[in-house]
């Protein structure tokens, strides 16, 4: 085993990065000036290696309490059946699928940042990609609960997977839910691999720098014998790039497939061809909002303002603005198509959204997703961290409402007025949702406490020092 060497040993000999790809007109740098590889490593790894900050305990405690609420809610669900939720006929999907789509959507930003922006050589992604990826994995973990929990007989969830059954039965491959199984599981595995491969050099750094024996052992185990040799770096770079290439289509495919759950159905409000692009845009929209909601407190708490700079916040705000406009286009097209097609059921659906019993949800959806994000046009607002934080939270709420509107208001009044009904989430619906938030934040707090929230090895490559070497 190598003795803890000087940090510079971990700098890869070559990086597919080019300092000239950053346009000169951008004045705010992606890393505050004055850092060397050593100070940067110190700074980032200190969040992990130093004593646990005081605020961490109550924060994790609250998240963990909600995680326990999740266990209670799920336990009760398994004991009693999904009747404890508010779902019914006609609204057989409620908060469960709303939350599933919401969580899957949130995950998208992570993959987009880490994969697509990597391929596009957007260096500003470097400081946020690690926790954006972590967020992706945790969000997918939360999302993955719902397709299983929402089953009437959750213990038979594996029937949705193709396996050589002795009964000779296969899943029914025409069902979008089967496509979902493949899309989401592929996404989860790829994201996890991508994240973990990216972590390897940093785990080695932590192994080398940590003082406690247990930490050395654990990080050492995780580092899988990373010694920073040239061959390691070579393989690592290749794998990372390949995984980025693999993950890129997933950004588009996962939410496209999720949107098929609805678009393939006959229900007015679901049966539209605009859903795939509109869902993907919505996913990126909500994902960036979530990254923003998380990174703003994170940079403050760990004093990472030097690495997650205003430039990052600006860029994220701009992505939100663009995707938000695409989503708004989707809303308009939905309305337009209903009247353009002249389909009485579609027209009734739109009228019901505006004037039906759930009008408030729809109005709030417009406010949260279309009206308020327009503030991001203004530089002054993009400069205001508090406002950015508030807007990002509002967008997250808005995107939740969007899924609620799509699922519930479409189902509750479909073709036959005799079967119309209403849907209200119950205590257990809310508990399960809060529970997955608990799961998400528990994982997130464990992550920022025990793993470097910013990629040390990648950050080193964007230091001026590394660029000098490059030349």
């Amino acid at each position: 085993m190598n003795p803890p060497g000087p940090p510079s040993i971990n700098v890869p000999p070559s990086r597919p990065s080019n300092p000239r790809s950053i346009p000169a007109r951008i004045s705010i740098p992606v890393v505050a000036p004055g850092y060397t590889t050593a100070t940067l490593t110190d700074k980032i790894s200190s969040a992990v290696l130093q004593k646990t900050p005081r605020w961490w305990y109550p924060a994790f405690g609250v998240a963990f309490a909600f995680l326990n609420l999740f266990f209670i809610a799920v336990g009760w669900l398994f004991i009693k059946g999904i009747g404890i939720w508010g779902i019914n006929i006609p609204v057989a999907w409620g908060w469960d699928i709303v939350n599933f789509v919401w969580w899957v959507g949130i995950g998208h930003a992570g993959t987009l940042i880490s994969a697509i922006l990597l391929l596009f050589r957007q260096q500003w992604r470097t400081s946020i990609n690690r926790f954006a990826e972590a967020m992706t994995i945790f969000a997918v973990a939360c999302a993955a609960q719902y397709p299983i929990l929402h089953l009437g007989r959750p213990w038979l969830f594996f029937w949705l997977m193709p396996y050589p059954s002795s009964m000779g039965t296969w899943p029914q491959f025409r069902s979008p839910l089967i496509w979902d199984v493949f899309a989401v599981s592929t996404y989860a595995i790829t994201s996890l691999l991508f994240w973990y491969v990216g972590l390897l050099p940093d785990l080695a750094t932590l192994r080398d720098r940590s003082k406690s024996k247990v930490a050395k052992l654990v990080y050492g185990f995780g580092a899988m014998g990373w010694r920073g040799s040239a061959a390691h770096w070579h393989n690592y770079e290749t794998a990372y790039l390949l995984l980025a290439g693999l993950a890129t289509p997933l950004v588009l495919s996962v939410h496209t497939v999720v949107s098929f759950d609805f678009a393939v159905g006959v229900v007015p409000g679901w049966h539209t061809t605009i859903f795939p692009p509109y869902f993907v845009a919505g996913a990126v929209f909500s994902g960036f909002a979530m990254v923003m909601s998380l990174s703003i407190p994170l940079r403050k708490l760990f004093h990472l303002e030097d690495f997650i700079t205003m430039r990052h916040l600006h860029n994220m705000a701009k992505v939100m603005l663009v995707t938000g406009l695409i989503v708004a286009y989707g809303y308009f097209i939905e309305i337009f198509m209903a009247f353009y097609s002249g389909n009485e059921h579609d027209i009734a659906m739109i009228e019901n959204r505006f004037f039906g019993p759930y009008w408030f949800y729809y109005a709030m959806l417009w406010a949260c997703n279309i009206v308020i994000p327009q503030l991001l046009w203004f530089r002054k607002i993009r400069d205001n961290i508090a406002l950015l934080f508030v807007i990002s939270i509002i967008v997250n709420v808005g995107m939740w409402l969007e899924r609620f509107v799509i699922i519930v208001t479409s189902l509750h009044r479909d073709f036959l007025p005799s079967s119309w009904g209403m849907y209200h989430g119950t205590f257990w619906d809310i508990s399960t949702y809060l529970g997955t938030l608990g799961l998400f934040f528990s994982l997130l707090f464990l992550f920022i406490r025990f793993l470097p929230a910013i990629s040390i090895s990648e950050m080193r490559t964007i230091l001026p020092e590394a660029k000098l070497e490059d030349k």
């Binding site: 009747g83 019914n88 089953l151 039965t169 029914q172 393939v264 159905g265 006959v266 036959l416």
Partner: protein
């Protein structure tokens, strides 16, 4: 091992001496004989090489390992120990003999049902049924096709009667003051009491029964009365036929039974009559009426139905013209109609323009159809209206053709209110020593001013016979559980007098239960007699000298009724003074300002006797679609006048205080369009205290409003209270929202444009599809529903529930939108809330789409297309994603959100249809077109090597339907009935524009309005 420059770490870890060629050479030289080596390192470093290899290539290490426990050995050992552990855990199964019958009972084949004819009693009158028996367990009731009161059809109450048999809340033992006693102890005590009455000629003995048509029971009672001349027999039925009897008495000066032949009536006028549900002939009447309401391309003649009514009834909903009125206006309209029809001695009262126009048109129509019309007065209308109806029918020469008079069917027609009054007076005066109540529940149902509770306690010995330890049992020392009609022998007469036998299918579930016949037998001091001996003995005596009894008895048992025992028509003359009296009373009937209360028995739980029947409680009531509750029904205008909010107008539940004849109760409101603004309708039968675990506390008790003076109607005041009680209706939207769901037209429209229905919506052609469709070589099942004849009576819904083991879920779950009925009847109002132009019923079950949206979205293939075009549900495979339900445009799929089926209560296990899976939690279910019936017939046909014939397979809903609205069959056979119906010009598919290509199709509703009354 070659050196790999791309793996610098490998080099770094190698011990220095490995690469030493000298050491290797040395080794080679030292060894003798052939020596094999893989690499220089191995050769050079024999001792340390394994360690090195294990470090670098952990997977190969195991193969290299030689010493100690090998991998193979480890697996051998662990497999062996597992096998041994498995052996050791075996337990000896308990010894159990499984032997076949030594003597195989005749015709009993496990898995094959037998059908027995028997008789169900409602209001004392017989309805012939066929009971399905699986290995001795009755599992389903069907109509007896030969029985005149059924002709194969049933109503909802009959379907649900099965559940009463298996109701776990039935009383099971004889009790005295609540503790268990024996029949012997009871008969001893009763015997003593009777003996004491002998010298008094039975002056202190009273028997209270419900309406009795049973010849055997009547003879027993007469024998008893002969032995004790001063004893009295009272009959009491809270929703009885007093008005019918009194009306006949008024018109003819004697009790006369009236029955109608709607098959011969071209014009039917209902004066507050709901002859589809009320009264002993309801099922038959619905059948006869509907036979004349089936417009076909080749025969488009329809009868016409007018309804003048105070409540909104099924007859009113089916009527071509309907007038909602107050009871006082009904009197005026009846008078006006009589006057215009030419009934002598009737002066025309003043009417408003609309009523005048209506009456004139109806009278003209009647006069055009002399001898081919019927004017029907309601079971609960005033006796004077009945008298007048008799007079109108006589004037229109309907008597003998559409209106038939016979001798009374009842064994002893009495004015039951007077009879009960007499009993109460005797009780109060202390003249009753022993009161025997067989079946009735007077504590709950007697007029409230009788104060039956305190009166009954004046009788020293009180014996109650009933299926439940109900409110009356609470006030009697003795309670004897009564047998269900499927458990005991008996007889009764149907609406036309046909004598029907009650044949048990099963030994009494609770051995202590007794029938009324046995209780009467005990009164006659023959306590040991079985009901079989009593009934058979009676008929043996009765049939003495009329041929071989055994043959007659077997024939009767087989048929369920005695052939040609219907009462012959009698000629009876109208009593002019009676009619005069009736006219005078009706002319004086003026209601004051303010609303009038109209009391009616509940359409589901009747007078309260079915309150513990979960199927009936959960059955959405016709028209209101309320479940588990009764309500104060008012018109929307009155609701607004009371200041109800929009929410309360829509969802009901605002509590009002009803003050009526000095009594008042608090009850929730429900808005029912189509009621006259001045009418408040209340159904009684709810609010039971001791019905059982299902019925207790459901709804409110309206009996306190009923007094001897005002049994059915009177002025009422409504006062709003701030309270709210949730009412649950299975339907929350009541208009079609401009969608062509129920397609309706007039007869004239149908004649001029028979395909009018198809033109009301788009319907893609069967060939409009991307992929080739399924091919059906043999059968392709389909269903046709004729909306013209559907009356919305719910018989099909109840039949479906009984056939398919459909669980009940309770009020709360219904309120959450989780009703389980596979078949529902959608009810839509047409027109504005002030005056509904039409009420439409549309039975909706799984449409078995050719291109089913549910099939493609199921991820596990739990709902699949069968080779005969059925949309099959595979419960075992269902994981419960509910996607199919979301994607079903008809919303006919039902989901087990909880474990709704009660699989724990032992007695309920007996009830289930063994051919249908009992579904567990988390599974989707829906109408299967009764696939178990299809398969049963298919097996029969295959055994006989022939195709399944048309009409051989009958679905449960089709079989129950009194109006033959539902027809099932093979649409591949163009000659089948269903295929011919689907070829009718007015056939259309519900939501066909979605290209689901439903196998269920509807025949558009065709009404036959009077052109004179049509809106200009």
């Amino acid at each position: 091992m070659t050196h790999d420059p791309s793996r610098p770490d490998l080099d770094a870890d190698l011990p220095d001496e490995t690469a030493d060629p000298e050491a290797a050479e040395k080794r080679l030289r030292q060894s003798s004989g052939p020596h094999f080596w893989k690499s220089l390192q191995e050769l050079a470093q024999k001792e340390s090489f394994p360690a090195f290899l294990a470090q670098q290539f952990p997977r190969q290490a195991a193969e290299y390992e030689v010493s100690g426990l090998s991998r193979r050995r480890l697996f051998e050992l662990s497999a062996a120990s597992m096998a041994l552990a498995g052996l050791a855990s075996c337990t000896r199964q308990p010894f159990e003999r499984v032997v076949p019958y030594v003597k195989q009972p005749e015709e009993v084949v496990p898995g094959k049902p037998l059908f027995f004819a028997t008789t169900l009693l409602l209001g004392g009158y017989a309805r012939g049924v066929l009971a399905e028996s699986h290995l001795g367990r009755p599992t389903k009731l069907e109509g007896n096709p030969q029985h005149p009161a059924s002709l194969g059809a049933t109503d909802a109450v009959t379907q649900a009667a099965l559940l009463d048999l298996y109701d776990p809340d039935r009383s099971q033992v004889i009790t005295k003051f609540g503790s268990i006693h024996t029949w012997k102890e009871l008969t001893d005590e009763l015997g003593g009491a009777i003996k004491a009455q002998k010298p008094l000629q039975g002056a202190g003995l009273r028997v209270l029964t419900e309406t009795v048509t049973s010849p055997t029971l009547a003879r027993q009672i007469r024998e008893f009365l002969a032995a004790y001349p001063k004893a009295k027999w009272h009959q009491w039925e809270p929703a009885g036929r007093d008005a019918v009897r009194a009306g006949a008495m008024l018109a003819f000066r004697k009790y006369v039974e009236t029955r109608y032949d709607f098959g011969k009536a071209d014009i039917v006028v209902s004066l507050d009559a709901d002859f589809f549900i009320d009264g002993p002939g309801a099922v038959r009447y619905a059948k006869d009426w509907s036979a004349r309401r089936k417009p076909r391309e080749h025969d488009a003649s329809l009868s016409r139905l007018y309804a003048v009514e105070t409540a909104l009834t099924l007859v009113g909903a089916a009527a071509d013209h309907r007038l909602a009125v107050t009871p006082a206006t009904l009197s005026s309209l009846a008078l006006a109609l009589a006057a215009e029809c030419g009934v002598p001695g009737v002066a025309k009262p003043a009417l408003d323009a609309k009523q005048q126009k209506f009456v004139t048109a109806v009278a003209r129509d009647l006069l055009r159809n002399v001898g081919r019309s019927a004017v029907v007065a309601g079971e609960f209308a005033a006796k004077e209206v009945h008298a007048l109806a008799h007079a109108i029918n006589a004037t229109l020469k309907n008597v003998g053709t559409t209106v038939i008079y016979t001798d009374p069917v009842e064994a002893s027609p009495t004015d039951q209110l007077a009879s009960l009054t007499d009993l109460v007076n005797d009780l109060r005066r202390g003249q009753v020593d022993t009161l025997i109540i067989a079946g009735a529940n007077p504590i709950f149902t007697a007029p409230s001013d009788f104060d039956f509770k305190s009166a009954i306690q004046k009788a020293p010995l009180r014996i109650h016979l009933g299926p439940y330890a109900d409110e009356t049992a609470e006030y009697c020392q003795w309670h004897v559980p009564e047998t269900h009609f499927l458990e005991a022998w008996g007889d009764a007469r149907a609406f036309d007098g046909t004598i029907s036998l009650v044949q048990p299918l099963i030994e009494p579930l609770y051995s202590e239960s007794k029938s009324a016949l046995q209780l009467l037998s005990a009164l006659l001091e023959k306590p040991g007699e079985s009901s079989h001996d009593i009934v058979k003995g009676y008929w043996q005596k009765e049939r003495a000298g009329k041929g071989t009894f055994e043959a007659f008895w077997r024939r009767t048992l087989h048929d369920g009724f005695m052939a040609e025992s219907a009462l012959a028509p009698v000629v009876t003359a109208l009593d002019a003074t009676g009619i005069e009296k009736a006219v005078a009373v009706l002319a004086a009937d003026k209601s004051g300002p303010g609303p009038t209360l109209v009391l009616r028995p509940d359409p589901n739980v009747h007078d309260g006797r079915f309150a513990n029947n979960g199927w009936l409680q959960e059955l959405p009531k016709p028209l209101t679609k309320l479940t588990w509750d009764n309500a104060v029904l008012i018109s929307p205008a009155r609701g607004r006048a009371l200041g109800l909010s929009d929410e309360e107008l829509r969802g009901g539940g605002a509590v009002v205080t009803l003050a009526f004849g000095g009594k008042s109760i608090d009850a929730p409101l429900w808005i029912l369009p189509g009621l006259a603004d001045d009418v408040v309708t209340v159904h009684f039968g709810y609010g039971r205290r001791r019905a059982g675990s299902v019925g207790n506390g459901a709804g409110f008790d309206a009996y306190p409003l009923r007094t001897a003076a005002k049994m059915w109607t009177g002025a009422v005041t409504l006062t709003r209270t701030p309270r709210k009680l949730p009412l649950i209706s299975t339907q929350t939207a009541h208009h079609m929202e401009g969608r062509a769901l129920v397609r309706a037209g007039t007869l004239a429209k149908f004649k001029s444009d028979p395909e009018f229905a198809e033109k009301m919506g788009e319907a893609p052609k069967r060939t409009d599809r991307l992929y080739p469709g399924f091919e059906y070589k043999e059968y392709a099942w389909g269903l046709s529903v004729d909306l013209s004849s559907c009356i919305g009576c719910n018989a099909c819904v109840a039949a479906c529930q009984a056939e398919n083991n459909i669980p009940i879920v309770g009020k709360e779950e219904i309120g959450r939108g989780r009703a389980m009925h596979w078949l529902r009847i959608d009810r839509y109002w047409e027109g504005d809330e002030k005056e509904i132009a039409a009420t439409h019923h549309q039975p909706v079950m799984c449409q078995h789409c050719e291109q089913a949206p549910c099939e493609v979205v199921c991820p596990v293939g739990a709902t699949v297309h069968s080779s005969e075009g059925l949309n099959d549900m595979v419960y075992n495979r269902c994981v419960g994603t509910k996607y199919c339900s979301n994607n079903c445009p008809y919303k006919v799929r039902r989901f087990n959100f909880f474990k709704y089926s009660d699989t724990d209560t032992p007695v309920l296990k007996l009830m289930r249809n063994p051919d249908v899976t009992v579904r567990t939690r988390g599974v989707m279910e829906k109408c299967s077109y009764c696939v178990q019936r299809i398969n049963a017939r298919r097996i029969e046909a295959e055994k006989q090597n022939r195709p399944i014939g048309d009409g051989e397979i009958v679905t449960a809903c089709q079989q129950a339907c009194p109006t033959d609205t539902i027809v099932f069959g093979n649409i591949n056979d163009p000659k089948s009935k269903v295929a011919r119906l689907k070829a009718e010009p007015h056939d259309y598919g519900l939501l066909a524009e979605l290209n689901t290509q439903p196998r269920t199709s509807y025949l558009a509703k065709v009404k036959n309005p009077n052109p004179e009354l049509e809106e200009s």
